[in-house]
């Protein structure tokens, strides 16, 4: 993986450099305290870093992530499974994905509300999935 990261550095010796920012639609499929599994319609290079933004319970949650792996899901067309590490680059606050994950795992609403009054998607139910059957079919992310 480290070799891949080295290959990603552009030639910055003579030409002006800039940062290209692009937004890739993904689906959040699985979470843990340290990271998450996403599904994407396009390949994302391992080692790539970026921001994961997800709307949960009416709040936009954002956290920095680093892509640890990306592989085509067998038998699912052009759906890539992306393993992303949640980086602790910002304080654990209400609008972070990490806080939402903690709430999801503990079974409460991500912002401490339990009356369902907030707009937006409600918290998805979860189950521990070390032994999950991964062959269940899913559509690729919307907007791809």
């Amino acid at each position: 993986m480290s070799a891949g990261r080295h290959q990603r550095r552009p030639n910055v010796g003579h030409e002006p450099v800039a940062t290209l920012v692009r937004s890739v639609p993904v689906r959040l499929v699985e979470v843990s305290r340290g990271g998450c599994r996403l599904e994407s319609a396009s390949r994302i290079e391992s080692g790539t870093s970026g921001q994961l933004a997800v709307l949960l319970h009416g709040l936009l949650r954002i956290d920095d992530v680093r892509v640890a792996r990306c592989q085509l899901r067998a038998g699912a067309g052009s759906v890539y499974q992306v393993g992303a590490e949640l980086l602790r680059t910002r304080p654990l606050a209400r609008r972070t994905v990490r806080m939402a994950v903690r709430k999801i795992i503990s079974g409460s609403s991500p912002d401490g509300l339990s009356d369902g009054s907030a707009s937006g998607p409600l918290l998805p139910e979860t189950r521990a999935t070390e032994e999950i059957d991964r062959s269940a079919s899913r559509a690729p992310p919307r907007g791809s």
Binding site: R8, P10, P16, A18, V24, V31, G34, I105
Partner: protein, 102 residues
């Protein structure tokens, strides 16, 4: 892979739509009034909307749309992708960037 994972994983009963904002360092090859040509480590899809951020300049954000993306060999011999971006809205004077970098 045994023992690689530290935390128990939880599968969401319904996957949730999200967006991943990815940042790539690119070299600017050419910048005209209507388009920018950059060398990117990754290919981009035609018609994809992107933002180009200029380091050290808060106003240096340019919104663009990918009009072409082709493999190319960079000066150091590495395989890159020459991406032509059609400028949609610009927030900075490109001459300032060249001045800063040279």
């Amino acid at each position: 892979m045994l023992g690689r994972r530290k935390h128990t994983r939880f599968l969401l009963s319904e996957p949730v739509d999200a967006h991943l904002r990815l940042r790539e360092e690119v070299s600017i090859e050419r910048w005209s009034g209507t388009e920018i040509v950059v060398l990117s480590p990754e290919p981009l899809r035609p018609q994809e909307r992107v933002t180009l951020e200029i380091p050290g300049d808060a106003r240096g954000r340019t919104s663009a749309r990918v009009s072409e993306s082709r493999p190319a060999v960079a000066g150091d011999g590495a395989i890159r992708h020459r991406v032509v971006l059609a400028i949609e809205s610009r927030g900075t004077d490109p001459s300032r960037i060249e001045g800063e970098e040279s």
